[in-house]
Amino acid sequence: MKLRRRAGIRHLLYHPWQLGLSLLGVALGVAVVVATGLAVESSRQALRVSVETVSGRATHRVVGGPGGVPDSLAARLGIGAGVRMLAPAVEGYVVSPVDPSRPLHILGIDPFSEAPFRPWLAGGPAADGVDGARLVTTPGGAILGAETASALGVEEGGRLVVQGGARTAVIEVVGILEAEDRWSRSGLLDLLVVDVAEAQEILGREGVVDRLDLILPPGEEGAALRARIEALLPAGTRVEAVGAEAGAMQDMLRAFDLNLRALSLLALVFGIFLIYNAMTFSVVQRRGMLGTLRALGTTRGELVRGILAEGAVVGFTGSVLGLLAGIVLGRGLVQLVTRTINDLYFVVAVEGVALSPGFLFRSLLLGTGATLLAALLPAWEAGSASPREAMARSSVEDRVRTLVPRAAVAGVIVLGVGAVLLALPTPGIEVAFGGLFALILGMALLIPVTTVVLVGFLRPAARRIAGVIGAMAARGVVTSLSRTAPALAALVVAVSVTVALGVMIQSFRGSVVGWLDTTLVADVHVTGPSVVAARPDGEIPPGLAGTARGFPGVVGVSSYRSVALQSGGVLTRLLAVELDPRGEAGFEFLAGGEVRDAVFAAFRAGEGFLVTEPFAFHRGLQVGDTLSLDGALDEEAGALERPVLAVFRDYGSEAGTVLLSRDLYDAHWTDERLTSLAIFLDGSGASEEEAARIASRLREAAGPDTPLVIRSNTELRERSLEVFDRAFEVTRVLRWLAFVVAFIAVFSALMALQLERRRELGVLRAQGMTPAQVWGLVSMQTGIMGGIAGLLALPVGAVLALVMILVVNRRSFGWTLEVDASPELFLQGVLLAVAGAILAGIYPSWRMARTSPAEALRGE
């Protein structure tokens, strides 16, 4: 190994604290990114595999609207269009009382049509002993994967109770599929295959199927066949290529994924600051040595390459460690991410973390690249080390002081760029994140100049409080600016981002609480068992609304039908409502609602839609714009087109929802089903007992085979907040991880700074300063730095919070949030900085107190 490289590596090894903390910084940053990436990738892969498993080899499918596809259509297409490869499928979700937290994906098929599509389910004994025909011959027969069977504690021949959208059924396991590989295992996870008729009964879909799978030949022959099929299709049904649905589902997760990734990148940014700090420190510490090397004939390029090589070694080692930690962390995080997706979007079962060589390579590259990026400036700094440094040591700080105004100017420019990016009239989330990161960098560049100004104010006070030692402690922050500025910048950024994240979560929660207070006006809420917690998607008997209206004490009922519609290649959630006038009070209009009565009159008359804020945002809709929904039965128009009457506040769905009157829905779709009811009781603030009484009567009316989920206003409110809190659990975990990285950044930066002052402290000890006074000096200086960082983090954190709330969140999800920042969050930030700083001073003080001045004066 070359001597210069050897000297560099030894320098790292002789400063194990610095090296350890640098490695920790990279490792933690990479671990958070890897864990988040794994969680996101795993859930996406699970979704893809799940869709592919149930789609099999189908190339196209016939789909209908919410009413589905009449099952008689299969025969019509077979005879009329000559379609041979066609298989009906009914899909839905059920839960078993054995594990209600585990939604089971039910797939109803016709085993005798299955051979070309899903050969593993074809009729007749298959190689693995599973006979699809038994689905037909055994009443309630079901096939499931071995892992799912084991999780539910059933074996072949065993029985399992399941609750579908509207009823309870008992199924019998007639076959257990052994997955051949991880891919199949993931596809089969929580999948329950039954005969199509059985699925129709369990899901309350008699007479209709969700789709008819098709295999169309390629080229003109396929196009001709498709044309023949389309000619026979009834209104409201259409042929679409397989993959459209999966694509639409993946699209729904885009903003969610991006936000998680951006959050995880923040942790890496802290890591970068940590590395930058450590590398800068390491360069500054060695300026004399670097100057000597330059004097001996080492070129600038050789020095820069040397420092970058050190950075690469640290980056790669830290990345490997981070990768390992990230995989472990990812296993925990994937559960949280999956639960959030299940709560807010759709059901997806994740079998494990998806580790691909490409992902691992990218992660290593990211960690090493980030470290090299962080090492660039210190490397340039090393290259600019003049050989004169070998002779004159004080010039470093002189030079750094001249850089302060330049850094400030650069900071203002970068801030300007950030502000422009944030102000750009584009809905792009990436641009918003670019703006956010530019703001963070710009503010970091302004920290040295702010520090100089603040210390100027602090110094007289420090002198009054602690005499010469106080003045020295304050002045020391500015005289060693080459060391203190990067440490302070790391500190301020880390603390302010954790403060900003805290404010964002708090604001979001506050907004949701306020929204729930406005929206939840009914006393009792009724729905069927739902598999997606954030919205009711179960079913209740259609007649239940009328029954409820007849109960004594009930003064009004609003009924809802929630369906997902493929419209224009995008999944659109429709909510057909029959609103009680009391229910109308729960709407907070953000646009178009100036004359509420007129809006509701037009809405009831089916003259237009009400849309949620995220829906309007994502589709770029404004009041008065026409919204077109595909799949309606209106044959002439081909689509249902109505204007948007008003936009209302809603935090229930990130993708957004379209509200239409029940009458308008019934006129365009054949679907009598109901999803939920909101019941208003007599007298304001009806008691829980009253609600319980109504619940009991509703259950009685529905019958024992129809499971109902009935919640009082209070219960629903609590449940909604529970879902909200769960949704933000990932963010909270990431915030805490960022917090930990921030703390380490604070700790390492200041500790390294104090350890580096060993010689200076040795001089003070030699001049008669006692260990206690050294302790006081070090603690005071780190305390001052912590205080400055905490102080600066308050405005910076507030600005970042505003950007996250008003721009990033808005562009990601389309929600407007009320800013809600409690003083505790800011106090927490200041405490983080000060506590980290004081803790960082303990070890150097202790070490100095134990070291004889003579030893310290010997230097390195």
């Binding site: 070359k2 001597l3 210069r4 050897r6 000297a7 560099g8 030894r10 320098h11 002789y14 004399g288 040595m289 100057g291 000597t292 090397l293 330059r294 004097a295 001996l296 004939g297 080492t298 070129t299 600038r300 390029g301 003049s386 050989p387 004169r388 070998a390 002779m391 010997r858 230097g859 390195e860």
Partner: protein
């Protein structure tokens, strides 16, 4: 004797407090091959600046700096660095040994910078260490050596790649008188053997007296001090 170093009308000024302070104001200077020269002058007279110009660390504002026939004032910073690694040996007041390299490795460093350490180079390094009386300390770390020992290693390092010109910036300034004397004896002997030209910046008349010639920097100009 042919001249190794030739300076003509060299000026150098530095910004200070918003103004330019002239340190060198037209230095003319010639050093012969194998000559040993002491450079005297009060603090701030420009001795170190002159040294920096001679080794290519710095460039003159005006004038010519030629060392071993190479016009340093015409070279780029990188070219001056490459010239320095080949032709110049440096001895610093504070020794400036690389603390993370052993004594032996410190000696081998200039050879490596020139392209690689050959067996001849290793032998020469070992020989020089013997000559400076530290043959048994090759594996020691610099901070385990006394000041005098460190400076002897620095002298060996300055000569290991057989430079044409050895520049020493107050080489005994950080040593006691006796140690300084011994260190200079070693240096005199080794430099004389190598045939290199040596320029020593010093405040010590005793050290200056050991040299062939003494120059003094006064008012930004170099003057020969009469023997």
């Amino acid at each position: 004797m042919p001249s190794l170093v030739r300076l003509e009308g060299v000026t150098r000024a530095f910004p200070e407090g918003g103004r330019l302070r002239s340190v060198l104001r037209g230095v003319d200077l010639e050093l012969q091959q194998g000559e040993s020269v002491a450079l005297l002058g009060p603090s701030g007279s420009g001795k170190s600046t002159l040294l920096n110009l001679l080794c290519g660390i710095d460039a003159p504002d005006e004038g010519r700096v030629e060392v071993a026939g190479v016009a340093l004032h015409d070279l780029s910073e990188r070219e001056r660095t490459l010239f320095r690694r080949d032709r110049i040996g440096f001895v610093f007041q504070f020794f400036n040994l690389i603390p993370t390299l052993t004594v032996e490795e410190n000696l081998l460093l200039p050879l490596e910078l020139r392209g690689g350490v050959t067996s001849e180079g290793r032998t020469r390094a070992a020989d020089l260490l013997e000559r400076v009386g530290l043959g048994d300390r090759g594996r020691s770390w610099p901070d385990r050596l006394s000041g005098g020992e460190q400076q002897r290693v620095a002298i060996a390092r300055a000569l290991v790649h057989t430079p044409d010109l050895v520049l020493a910036d107050e080489p005994t300034g950080n040593l006691d008188q006796e140690t300084g004397r011994r260190v200079m004896a070693v240096m005199d002997e080794l430099v004389a053997e190598s045939g290199a030209t040596v320029l020593v910046v010093t405040h010590s008349p005793e050290l200056a007296a050991r040299m062939d010639r003494t120059l003094v920097l006064r008012n930004g100009r170099a003057e020969d001090l009469a023997p």
